[in-house]
Symmetry: D2
Subunit: 295 residues, 4 copies
């Protein structure tokens, strides 16, 4: 059976967009713990719960925030006066419910196992990752525009890495007229970049050419921009690091050299929360399409 009763627990601006997308598809949708919900624009057909006891009703799908927890103990809800413990909450749920959690970790997987619950991490879905690369790339370009006194057009831009973010970022930079080079370790990635009409270099070549670039975008999760690389870069270069912790830049050396580095994390929610919410909504809908609900 298809899921037709869905509950969102906790959420920011993005989650409200997601709620509305689900509700507009004719799925019975309730929310709990949406901070200051009145001020935002939940669809009229969304059922807003105020009493915590109502959340234990039978829902086919229960959707926790992205990330589902910040403190590692309670659900990530900022607007409530009390906290909801993840384990307590899950322990009270029916095994018929499927839990969608953003950035699930060992803790929640262990609890799910103990209580025989099914957990799906919607943040882990490939289409979400691909779609999220769009606002990430656009946010990176916005930062580059704000932080430079020259145009991106005809500037020499380096994109390190040709994964999801690197691929769309280099395409967008090219689309506004930048002179783009992509540094990638694998032959096949360089072949792809070449086929798309851009320049590609290996990491060895990068070391020789790094001084040419006006702006460097790092998308690789490794320390590529170590002190050796930085020492060969221009002091005037702008580095935008999009790699999650621990980042891809030797920040200390950059600071000493006076190179400006901007470590830009979680861009989708910051620069385009509506788009980020639509992406979450679309992904949740895709998952709902695929899962079978027990009745």
């Amino acid at each position: 059976m298809k899921a037709n009763k869905v509950l969102f627990i906790g959420g920011d601006m993005r989650q409200i967009r997601a709620v509305n997308r689900i509700a507009e598809c004719g799925i019975e949708t309730a929310v709990f713990g949406f901070e200051d919900t009145e001020g935002k624009k939940l669809s009229e057909c969304v059922n807003i719960l105020y009493d915590i006891r109502d959340i234990y009703d039978s829902y086919d799908v229960i959707i926790l925030p992205l990330p589902y927890t910040i403190d590692g103990e309670t659900i990530n809800i900022s607007g409530l006066k009390y906290k909801i413990n993840v384990k307590d909450f899950l322990s009270k749920l029916s095994q018929k419910s499927i839990i969608f959690a953003g950035k699930s970790d060992k803790m929640i997987m262990k609890i799910a196992e103990d209580y025989e619950l099914k957990i799906i991490d919607y943040f882990d879905r490939e289409e979400l990752q691909i779609l999220n690369a769009i606002p990430t790339a656009e946010g990176a370009i916005q930062i580059a525009m704000e932080e430079t006194s020259f145009t991106i057009h005809s500037s020499k831009c380096l994109v390190i890495g040709n994964g999801r973010i690197g691929a769309i970022l280099s395409k967008m930079l090219n689309g506004i007229g930048a002179d783009v080079t992509v540094a990638a370790r694998k032959q096949k990635d360089r072949a792809k970049v070449f086929s798309l009409g851009m320049k590609s270099i290996s990491m060895v070549e990068l070391y020789e050419k790094i001084s040419e670039f006006d702006i460097i975008f790092n998308t690789a999760p490794n320390l590529i921009l170590d002190s050796d690389m930085l020492m060969k870069s221009r002091r005037s270069v702008l580095i935008i690091d999009l790699a999650s912790k621990p980042g891809g830049v030797d920040f200390e050396t950059a600071r000493k050299m006076g190179i400006k580095v901007i470590w830009a994390l979680s861009l989708p929610g910051k620069v385009a929360p509506d788009t980020a919410g639509d992406i979450i909504g679309k992904t949740i809908l895709n998952i709902i399409e695929e899962v079978e609900v027990k009745k």
Copy 2:
């Protein structure tokens, strides 16, 4: 003979870039009235004049700022403790000098006629206008990114006008994945837009479709976005007006309707002063290449 002695009088950050470009080409270059010149980076080969009497030496080309005057009386120099009257200054120049002035007007043309001086408006050069469209378009996109909670990618963007700015702006928006429509009055402009793979509409069609757009960029120097058009637009639309005074939007109606309008003027100097300066420098070089200097 080719010009080989050039004097810049007054200038902002852009003009410093321009000075350096000229100086790097081996032309003897002097500056006067560059506010706080020490803090910025004039090439070492540039001769900095401190005594106003030195500016009446024989220069082949004398380059006034952009715009050459703000108050309609004195030269646009912000860093001096005294003012230089345009007429006084020009009256003392040799007729062998050619004057380059940014945004020349009737006043300076009249003075030039009286004293038989040759004036060239470098801001009026077509290549400068075309090149300036690049930072203008980029600045407009930056504003759009900053002012929206969604991505430009896949948003519905309208560009009104297909002149210099409209053409490059629509290309760049397309290049980052926007869904671009260009509104233009002339069949030939719509044919051009179509040939470049984008959608085009006439002004009559615009009236029918204006409610579809998320972001509207106006580049036309007429009041296209009058109250009728605005009444049919989304309240959530973002309007970025790039038309010079009096602008292309009924600002009063937009304000009443709660539509956000940003009137973005002189973007090149604001968002990309280095690029704007390079463009001035390149244009001045082009003119110097073309003019003959009397000896």
Copy 3:
């Protein structure tokens, strides 16, 4: 009054498409002298005239072929057993009719003056010229693909001229991954090319760099590729000349040097007659929209 009775006299495959476009807009449309009309697909609502006397009925607009004459004397109709003299024909028309002629010349203009007829050359319309540049550019690319043993992608392509054809051709080449350089005489044209993210060179620079190119497309109506230029080119270069007579290449020198030159004229009708016909139809509709008919 708007034209609502239209007669097409003579035409090839393109003209049949044009006829159908007009007829589908609800305009009463008749044709005469369409060779072998039965075999092609005229809309059912088109009235086919077989008796030459019927063509002197009162039509608001009479549309002659493109070109209206080949021999300089009779109308360009290939399927009839007899010829229709241009002057005789025009002399019998009502002065209320407007004549649309493709590639009008002094002869027809003189006749029109004598008989006080209004002639409009639809081939001369700017939107037709712009739209025709699309099949011309595509045809040039098709020839380049057929005549080379390497891909256009990543080949070094030179486009001489940045007019209507040059602009769309360089964009398309760029779109399939070629390494495009545009040679243009005017600073403003080079500025435009630069703004669109491609390389541009002056004619002086071209002389220095011409040996770099794998494929040269000429769109300029002057003899740019003279023997000096050819002597500096690669013998293996492919030259596609899109300039109308007398062409832009010293064909004799090229032949002696063994350089392959393809002089590709009238591409729209050859490589994409349907598209060419749609363009004619659209342009005729535009003109009909604009003209007033006397009643």
Copy 4:
């Protein structure tokens, strides 16, 4: 140790380009069985063997053609008067040699195992597959241009599949102004297409929309265009099938319906043999860089 003595056995025009690329890198290169070698342009530094006994000398790498065999028994050499049996040949080689074979199969892998030889299939390398997608896509576009009476620009093109060929083909079509839709089964592939600014549809949606398309390019290795799909297509559609055997179209139904289908296989060697040869050469060089040779 790096390979520094290489022998090519058998080859067509592509292989000659590959030989030259290797030789130009300073690697000692010999060839045997190159049909009509004199007429083509082997680098002067290439050593041409005429006596079959010479091929058993000690070479670090021995490169067989693409495909290495056609008849499943002998090496694919067209110019010799006698045949070389694959097994006989391999049995006489030193175990120090590494064999590069195009399209290796079970037979050669078995022989290699028996004689303890190392076989590497260069056709199987991911960078070769990616690079080969370029001439394949261009060849498909050339066919589309040749077989239609309208322009690719603004025509409605469907690309089935978003693998290596689909991705570059849709980009190129978009680059010349086509209205491109990509049909893909996986959410993540559709997300990728969307991120690149093109339309994507699922296979279910394809069934609803297939009648809209002017040209269909199939790159998927499954029978997507079965009789149901064909029945819903336009009779005037052009189908270009790029899938290897058994192909992705119900050819019989298409034939009965009068739909034109072109099954275009092995395009790189046909439409751009020089580029195809460069790709082979580059890939072989990459492999040589990576392998260690026993001494």
